[in-house]
Symmetry: C2
Subunit: 407 residues, 2 copies
């Protein structure tokens, strides 16, 4: 069952924002059994929207569209879809009621927002429980077009709770069976070479996807069709035999979620002491709802004074070894345990870049120390040249290093 994603908005075409919705939608559609054939981003232009729908409908069954549903004049998607499907806008009281529920908590209704309750007459209106722009679903010559708001959290809520279940009910596509493995200790190419035989001998229709993210490697083994489950299980066993301990977990889960689960199961508390990651480990861990059950806090010691004053790192270690050193990483991690009164800690100190590198300690040099009660592991990593990527990699590596200690 073929699908396409169309994103509408001038702000995308001038590069003002990066379209992250399409990738998110593509992932959900793929897992739900649909094949995404193409993604397009086009402007807030009625003619262009209509031509694009025509072209794309000639190739796919399902079009998921985001954007152009805001209350201001440049947002023309709703009106254009009315034209395209030869219908008119009508005022819908149930939509108004939903809008009032949504906004009551933080603002009052004005005229522009009230206009969001006008919807195309001939379509299925799906209430947007988390925003003011209603979702519209058009059935058309056996195909479907859904128009959703482009605000990411609104789109995600609607996709998960309304669109994906309805699409699956309507089309019942072949199930997309998959198993995801979090693998440690391999780069993408090293892993590809190590499991080349396994990959070459996969049965017809099976696929293996490498999902590298900074500092973390996932493998997804997949096939379409419920009846192939026994074969999938057999291939999983093969892969388990080949990779053994390198498999850190067999589920599609982020490092922060996995770490949170392990800590909570064992009744352990966590704190961080961050220099080069600048709070990103704390931020990543606290992005998980309920993280307060195990996460207690952090000291972001960006400046050396804070390392000494709050974490009680010794001035002597700083002078002798420098801030980016094993000794300082260990003292930071131990300091975090003491100061935050936690069982486990993750400490980072390094040079994120682009400046601050030296011959001896180039940009990307990072020391990470993890502790769990008495135990303590400190390791040096040589990451890349890019600040943003270095911060994310050090964050993932730090969490994985602690996860390994908890095995």
């Amino acid at each position: 069952m073929k699908a396409a994603i169309i994103t509408i908005g001038d702000e995308i075409l001038i590069g003002q924002i990066v379209d992250t919705n399409s990738a998110w939608i593509a992932q959900k559609l793929t897992l739900a059994g649909f094949e995404v054939e193409e993604m397009q981003s086009i402007g807030d232009d009625a003619q262009q929207i209509k031509v694009t729908i025509d072209e794309v409908f000639s190739r796919v069954d399902v079009i998921l569209m985001t954007g152009g549903l805001g209350p201001t004049k440049d947002d023309i998607t709703k009106k254009t879809l009315c034209d395209y499907f030869a219908t008119t806008l009508v005022f819908d009281d149930t939509v108004l009621e939903n809008i009032q529920n949504v906004i009551s908590s933080f603002t009052t209704l004005n005229e522009l927002t009230r206009n969001q309750a006008y919807v195309p007459k001939d379509c299925t209106v799906i209430q947007n429980r988390v925003g003011t722009a209603p979702v519209t679903w058009f059935d058309y010559i056996g195909k479907v077009l859904v128009s959703m708001p482009g605000v990411p959290h609104e789109m995600r809520y609607v996709m998960d709770n309304e669109i994906i279940p309805r699409l699956q009910a309507k089309y019942d596509p072949d199930a997309y069976l998959k198993r995801v493995f979090i693998v440690k200790g391999y780069t993408e190419s090293a892993l590809a070479m190590y499991i080349a035989d396994f990959e070459d001998n996969l049965p017809e229709g099976f696929g293996l996807a490498y999902l590298p993210s900074p500092g973390l490697m996932k493998l997804r083994l997949f096939v379409r069709g419920e009846h192939r489950l026994p074969e999938l299980d057999e291939q999983v066993r093969k892969l388990q035999n080949i990779l053994g301990d390198a498999i850190l977990a067999e589920k599609d889960i982020t490092a922060e979620k996995l770490l949170g689960e392990r800590l909570f199961e064992r009744g352990l508390s966590l704190g961080t002491a961050e220099s080069c990651t600048g709070g990103n480990i704390a931020h990543t861990i606290t992005s998980i709802p309920g993280s307060s059950r195990y996460f207690k806090g952090s000291v972001i010691s960006y400046a050396n004074e804070e390392k000494v004053n709050i974490l009680r790192v010794s001035q002597d270690s700083l002078d002798r070894f420098g801030a980016v050193s094993e000794a300082v990483a260990v003292e930071m991690a131990r300091g975090a345990q003491d100061v935050l009164h936690v069982d486990c800690s993750i400490a980072t100190t390094g040079i994120a870049g682009p400046d601050g590198g030296t011959e001896e300690k180039p940009v990307g040099t990072v020391w990470i120390c993890t502790t769990c009660k008495d135990r303590c592991v400190a390791k040096k990593y040589q990451l890349g040249r890019f600040r943003e990527a270095n911060i994310v990699r050090a964050t993932n590596i730090g969490m994985l290093q602690l996860l390994e200690m908890l095995e």
Copy 2:
């Protein structure tokens, strides 16, 4: 002069990676005077590539294409372009020489990499100084198609140094003039209503774009053609008169960058004390290279013990008013100034959700206190129901609240 961007790669269509190249290219093209009409992402499929080029060339003059140029067998862009432009692959010694220069620093030449030196006969070959896949430029019925590698830093280098200058030399497009304003205190719809007259009376060819992000609103006023600069200046003056103090800054800049500039100009240091934002303010601020010049550190006091132990918040305030209260926000912010020895601080305490809300303090209740030396401002905000959005909004609001104090 119209342009389009085509991204090739199956990994994009399954949502494995987010396409950030297209937005980057779109920004460069727009500023260089081109109008980006559309962006498409399609699979590594020869037929689909050819059909897409046909369709897109019927609408635009310039196609910039990325991806599908790797050395492995799923990368078919180069061969497909040979088919499309009815030419053949030939071995190019200058490309081989460039490849050898590029890889000499980190690896040796293997057969797959050597094959990268085969290039289409009838095209302009542009050396890729930072990678092994050459860039190819096809002139065709007065139009241009450029094929570039999808590796972001390679594509960026080639765009800046080769493609943009050549495109401008060939087409000499009208300049894109713009002014960006950071506006405080308005939702998108409220702002649109407030400046409706201004917007309705903009001269022909002018555009106004609303760029909302959580807790932060930007406006972009734009027009094409160098000769329209005096008119643009006039419209800017009008908008300044209408919005007055609501304009926080007149440049296209993030809140974290603006805050960093203001702090650095005034020689002020910053620290944060974060509860509900869980380190995201520190992370956001330290994502800016050079932030160590003004950012000293943070205490992430997720648990109440840390508020008391490290930030010296009084147990009495916690007991009497609760953690989410003005008193605790103020004590956290003052505590951060003391403990971190900084001039300015941002403190957050609130209920990010989805759990933890009460009748009196529902999910989304956040107290934010900002200090600068003796001055101190504490405000209560009622944000939404979504954890992720609440964290981002509280982060932006906290930075803006401090920015206002620095005016």
